[in-house]
Amino acid sequence: MARIVVITSGKGGVGKTTTAAAIATGLAMQGRKTAVVDFDVGLRNLDLIMGCERRVVYDFVNVINGDANLRQALIKDKRTENLFILPASQTRDKEALTTEGVERVLGEMSKEFDFVVCDSPAGIEHGALMASYFADEAIVVTNPEVSSVRDSDRMLGILASKTRKAEKGEGSIPAKLLLTRYSPARVEKGEMLSIEDVQDILSIDLLGVIPESQAVLNASNSGVPVVLDEESDAGQAYLDSVARFLGEERPYRFTTIQKKGFFGRLFGG
């Protein structure tokens, strides 16, 4: 049985898809058979970030409707072993994700994979609810600014009540915080919330801190998950997060101002 992990946030543009791609790739690099599913029906993006947009034939909604089987729709990643992508449909709307359909497809994937990573759309509407409904655990992606933190707080409240586990009375699913676009220099200047501020408000365990980095933008533009850029600070931070996710203890890096490293990032990114 796979562990089903939802990558969620509430707010848009905080790095959910980048994170889903990076975490899924990281898990696959660790030898875990992993599928990453795009729940953002109508605004699909994961295939671009994963660099497989030209190989999409069938999508998630096709599988739900029975137009194609899972094997036909899953795209095998060319760079990373053990990694598969299930793209979203660009031509449908999110209502196409029926509870029964999603349950059936995730159930089928569960048998084959070690991890199923669900990339949630922004918002708290149907698509986002479907992405988290069957999850065993959640990674909440948050930027260190007030509106993102508040939306994540709202999302945590929803995760506590609107998952299958919660509805069955089995309690809320475990949720961990991934702080992205973190800039220690801007925290120092008081322009950004610190790790402690965010944790004080959200009070959940910290999975990782991803520094603000040009490498993320480069990775997205070139369709290569940022963890494959192992030289980059963001790539390393994601790999640390994946290791923590698998139970390893790692120190948090890139959370303080390092003079040399900081300039290195400026010019080297």
Binding site: R150, D153, R154, G157, I158, A160, D200, I201, S203
Partner: protein, 251 residues
């Protein structure tokens, strides 16, 4: 033997006890008897705070309806009931007369402090004189258990402790709302809205480890964030109502 029979007689009397008690009731004022209009308004009001409204005992004030036939009024009452309110009486007035009371089975009550409550306001309870000695439902326990929440109360969530106190061991986030008929204790930071004594208990208090609230209210009197001064915010705060003023002090 005689002693036993005397005791038996005493026991028999002890089966009931008649007492007078002050009691706060909410008044539901109807401005229309049209079932459709009522359904829309009641449904909307109930949707706002279902926890708060469901099974809420209310006294109906129908004076502003003017002359409406008794059967139509009975239909209107039934619609109010269907939305979850418990009717406990009719505010005596020109429309609410004895024949209507007899037909509806609701007692006529004379309440003091008439007027004031605007229909648009949040359900602000009106204090009442010890009207007719309202038969209190035989409560199995005198004490309403305190509601204890051990999870953080997150943005968008609403927690209501009906009939008693509320304890939150974690934080109340901005955008969250906690309500209680009694006191509210928050052992984390209070960043959202806290409303104590929502059914009019003016002696209710709010205790919090850290005050940074969006709104605090006691017995219908409130202060919004803008009116909470910087020096009033901070650690270990007690919020009380003194007259009509919300007071914030350090514990």
């Amino acid at each position: 033997m005689p002693r036993d029979s005397a005791r038996a007689q005493g026991d028999a009397l002890r089966a009931i006890e008649l007492k007078g008690r002050m009691m706060l009731v909410s008044i539901l004022r109807l401005h229309s008897s049209d079932p459709k209009e009522l359904d829309i308004a009641l449904g909307a009001r109930m949707a706002e705070a279902p926890d708060l409204m469901r099974d809420m005992p209310v006294v109906l004030d129908i004076d502003s309806l003017g002359q409406v036939a008794v059967p139509d009024l009975l239909v209107a009452f039934e619609h109010v009931r269907q939305h979850g309110f418990k009717l406990i009486g009719l505010q005596k007035g020109e429309t609410a007369t004895q024949p209507l009371a007899d037909a509806s089975g609701l007692p006529l009550l004379v309440l003091s402090g008439k007027g004031a409550a605007s229909p648009a306001a949040t359900p602000s309870p009106k204090p009442a004189e010890p009207a007719a000695p309202e038969p209190r439902p035989a409560s199995p326990a005198v004490h309403t258990p305190t509601r204890v929440i051990t999870q953080p109360v997150r943005s968008g969530q609403q927690i209501y402790a009906r009939g008693g106190d509320l304890i939150v061991t974690g934080a109340v986030s901005a955008g969250a709302e906690v309500l209680a008929d009694g006191h509210i204790h928050v052992y984390g930071a209070l960043r959202g809205r806290a409303l104590a004594g929502v059914r009019g208990l003016v002696s209710a208090q709010i205790f919090c480890r850290r005050l940074d609230a969006e709104l605090i209210a006691i017995g219908g009197h409130y202060r919004i964030s803008e009116d909470i001064l910087d020096h009033e915010r901070g650690e270990n705060r007690l919020i009380t109502l003194s007259g009509e003023t919300i007071r914030i002090t350090e514990i």
